[in-house]
């Protein structure tokens, strides 16, 4: 028996950080697996390189910090970060894009701030934005859907990921959002631009896009499963999706030639991934339910604004980073009401009925 004074509680819930991370990885797995299935071996290689390098950078930083690396590496947060980075990359991107992305996410996004739980910005989104700005060509070259069995073989794929991609035009195209943006700039109008678009295929994920972002269905499923597991709350995701839905509906009804329909908005780009796996990031989102709603609405609004009127076809990365910067402010002002006090902290008036 210990003689040290110990404060209660003497029992604790059993869910630990590493278990939470494992649940997140499980929830991300179906969408990632579909990405590998749709885009073949290069996607798998990129996935492996990115996740492994993320873990290597994590270990390196921990070593520099002078703490034992194993307990932290085992918590799985580096795997989640690496996974989120690779899911936002074009599936046939060269290997070094993945490595640089991991480095930005883990070193600049996380350990510069002090490691797990200290970062201001979402590491994966930081990596995505930094890569997009630094390497626009590599980051916007989207491979056609070329499933694992019918696409390039094991050896050819090595050449794609590690040797550089030639005859680009033959195997790549634009994403829905990218296509729309380019066509608009050539004064084409909406219904005709999307003549090849299939809402159903976009929903299940059979389209060009980032490795793990294409399937709304699987991301939605993973997200809802995480909610049922009690890992994430509904406030942020619902606020984001509802905001995009409302804004795009209003503008689409008002001018359907220039504004995409809500279905296209919700099933394109990174919206679903961001809604369930980035907006709900514990570290970089507000603490309170109301704060999370505000955060979600802010992200949705910025995504819609950047997509509709900005220079980039997709705005999720920028939107998240901007709202991450506002999170401390939201947390400062939005606090739960304390028992027996008004919102402003004054004690309730005494009223004896």
């Amino acid at each position: 028996m210990s003689s040290k004074p110990i404060s209660g509680p003497h029992v604790a819930a059993t869910r630990r950080v590493d278990q939470i991370m494992r649940l997140v990885i499980i929830a991300l797995a179906p969408a990632t697996a579909l990405g590998v299935l749709l885009f073949g071996w290069p996607a798998l290689y990129l996935l492996a390189v990115t996740v492994l390098s993320a873990m290597a950078f994590e270990g390196f930083c921990l070593k520099l910090k002078g703490v034992p690396a194993m307990p932290y590496l085992r918590d799985g947060s580096a795997i989640v970060t690496g996974l989120l980075v690779v899911m936002t990359l074009p599936p046939w991107a060269p290997w070094w894009i993945g490595v640089v992305g991991s480095a930005i996410a883990i070193i600049l996004g996380k350990h510069v701030y002090g490691g797990l739980g200290q970062n201001l910005f979402n590491p994966a989104m930081l990596a995505r934005v930094a890569l997009l700005i630094s390497f626009p060509i590599e980051m916007t070259t989207w491979a056609n859907v070329s499933p694992l069995l019918t696409g390039p073989g094991v050896i050819d794929s090595l050449a794609i990921t590690f040797g550089g991609l030639d005859n680009t035009d033959a195997v790549t195209g634009a994403t829905t959002l990218g296509l729309v943006k380019t066509e608009f700039s050539q004064n084409h109008l909406l219904p005709s631009i999307l003549s090849d678009y299939s809402g159903f295929l976009a929903f299940i994920g059979w389209e060009r896009g980032s490795l793990g972002e294409t399937s709304s269905l699987l991301l939605l499923g993973g997200g809802i499963w995480l909610m049922r597991q009690g890992v994430i709350k509904w406030h942020g995701p619902l606020a984001l999706l509802a905001t995009i839905f409302l804004l795009s509906s209003i503008f689409h009804l008002w001018d359907s030639k220039h504004y995409l329909s809500p279905w296209v908005h919700l099933n394109s780009g990174a919206v679903m991934l961001v809604a369930f796996f980035i907006v709900t990031d514990y570290v970089t989102s507000p603490n309170t339910p109301l704060g999370q709603v505000i955060f979600g609405v802010g992200c949705g609004l910025l995504i819609f604004v950047i997509r509709s009127w900005g220079g980039y076809p997709e705005g999720t990365g920028f939107a998240i980073l901007l709202m991450n910067a506002v999170t401390p402010l939201i947390d400062h002002y939005i606090r739960p009401r304390i028992y027996g006090r008004y919102r402003n902290g004054k004690p309730l008036d005494i009223t004896n009925p």
């Binding site: 004074p5 003497h10 604790a12 603490n287 304390i338 028992y339 902290g345 004690p347 009925p353």
Partner: protein, 502 residues
């Protein structure tokens, strides 16, 4: 998750593993063998310690007064059995520090001879003042753990125009089932106690809140109170800390007690259900509070039971009775596992506050390493008060106590829900208790420096006054001398004049 909007009357809370089924099916053990020696601390309540009135070697009877209550907030203690006073000495208290406090030691003679008890003819016709007095004289204190003298609460209630007496039968702590069993087996007595309390406070109605994981107790209480329409027995959801009186009050009535106020401010008084039973015993049977039902449980106990033990029994004896396996015990806890105190030794007496003795095994208290906060805000969701435990802890870590106070540190009730849910196993409550201690220390230091300042100022003023007085005195003396001189001169002049004329 699908509860889109939380019940505004029920904020936060957790659902811990209950561990109640180990003890709840078994009846209260009433034939606990009388120990040879009983150790009765004179302070078992909030307020001033009682003053012993017995001498070493004196023979006492069961129920006889051992120490009388001192001051307005205090409670007497009585002899749990008949015997000889063996000693009045300092003995380790059931407290995490196990520091010794003044304790009366009785060597029992095994006869269980009762002192003369005063039993009223019709307890329910007693004057309210009389009820309060008798409750106070019987040493009844809040048995939920707060051990506030019940008589003080009753008189406060009478003075403050109470509309509801809330009987807290939540028993939300895991493991504990003593109130559950008490309600199942002695519901009639409890209802009697409630009626006496109502009479003692001139209150019109009572509400009993029972967590819905105790359906038998709920039924027993409903049956027992069916003839009294002013006693409402209600079920409340099982969610720790439902037994926090303010939480239960908010859930049952929608009313909140102001942060700087008491329950009486909004016309409510809260008493524990076991206290109601003690009140019944004190008035209807004339018996002071000399025994209580204790839950003995935990994985290191072979026969977990609810045992009625005399106050002053050593916990080690109670544990041995229930088959403690010493090698398995990793921590001894008095009270529940959420808010109870870890005790360093088992050779401490059972006191009025002790509702549970838990011998927890290593598996029960599994303590994984502390990891960094990942801001998952589980603690914010779990906090029943509406605080931001993670923010408060980070402020306290940075030694910014004032900013932790701004975040509501003083509203923390140390219920432990935040520590319980923390996936990083951060000892949040520990931080808050530490900070509260620091605040008290700081206050004391401030008080001391204020006091010193005041004394110095007083001294300066006093010296100044003395100086002024001395000056004034000197002036007066001078004037008096001058006056005397003048009078002398005048006299001399007169004399001279008289001589002249003569």
């Amino acid at each position: 998750m699908f509860a889109l909007f939380e019940n505004p009357r029920l904020r936060g809370g957790i659902h811990a593993e209950e561990h109640k089924s180990e003890t709840s099916p078994h009846g209260i053990v009433t034939d606990f063998p009388l120990p040879k020696k009983l150790y009765i601390p004179v302070q078992q309540h909030v307020g001033k310690p009682a003053e012993p009135v017995v001498k070493v070697g004196e023979k006492v009877l069961k129920g006889q007064l051992l120490a009388y209550s001192q001051g307005t907030i205090s409670a007497p203690v009585h002899a749990p059995t008949s015997g000889i006073i063996a000693d009045v000495k300092d003995f380790p208290a059931p407290h995490p520090s196990a520091l010794p406090i003044r304790t009366v030691v009785i060597e029992s003679d095994g006869k269980e001879q009762w002192a003369e008890l005063t039993i009223p003819d019709d307890p329910f016709q007693l004057d309210p003042e009389e009820i309060c007095e008798r409750v106070g004289a019987a040493g009844v204190v809040g048995l939920g753990g707060a051990v506030f003298p019940s008589a003080v609460k009753l008189s406060l209630g009478r003075k403050n125009k109470i509309h509801t007496l809330l009987i807290n039968a939540g028993e939300c702590e895991p493991y504990l089932t003593c109130d559950d069993r008490l309600m199942q087996e002695r519901a009639g007595e409890i209802v009697g106690g409630i009626r006496l309390m109502l009479r003692g406070m001139d209150a019109p109605k009572a509400m009993v809140g029972i967590e819905d994981n105790k359906p038998e107790a709920f039924q027993a209480m409903q049956m027992a109170s069916r003839d009294f329409p002013n006693i409402v027995v209600a079920q409340v959801p099982t969610r720790y800390p439902m037994g926090w009186d303010r939480q239960m009050l908010r859930y049952l009535t929608g009313q909140e007690i102001p942060a700087d106020g008491r329950a009486t401010d909004i016309g409510v008084v809260v008493h524990n259900v076991a206290t109601a039973f003690a009140v019944y015993q004190a008035i209807c049977l004339g018996r002071p509070l000399i025994s209580r039902v204790v839950t003995v449980s935990g994985a290191a106990v072979a026969k977990p039971r609810n045992v009625e033990v005399p106050i002053g029994t050593l916990m080690s004896e109670v544990l041995a009775y229930c088959g403690l396996e010493k090698s398995k015990m990793a921590r001894l806890v008095m009270g529940g596992p959420m808010m109870g105190d870890a005790l360093p030794i088992a050779e401490v007496p059972v006191v009025k506050a002790c509702n549970g003795i838990l011998a927890l095994s290593h598996a029960d208290i599994d303590e994984p390493p502390v990891q960094p906060c990942i801001r998952c805000s589980s603690c914010v969701t779990a906090c029943p008060v509406g605080l931001l435990p993670l923010e408060m802890a980070s402020r306290i870590k940075a030694n910014q106590l004032d900013s932790a106070v701004d975040l509501g540190l003083k509203d923390c009730i140390s219920c432990g829900s935040c520590s319980y849910v923390c996936p990083s196993n951060i000892p949040l409550v520990h931080y808050f208790k530490f900070a509260s201690g620091e605040l008290v220390k700081r206050q004391q230091a401030e008080h001391k420096s204020d006091q010193t300042k005041r004394l110095i100022e007083d001294r300066n003023n006093r010296m100044e006054r003395i100086r002024l007085e001395a000056e004034a005195e000197a002036l007066r003396a001078q004037e008096a001398r001058a006056a005397r001189l003048a009078a002398q001169q005048a006299q001399q002049a007169q004399q001279a004049k008289a001589e002249e004329t003569a």
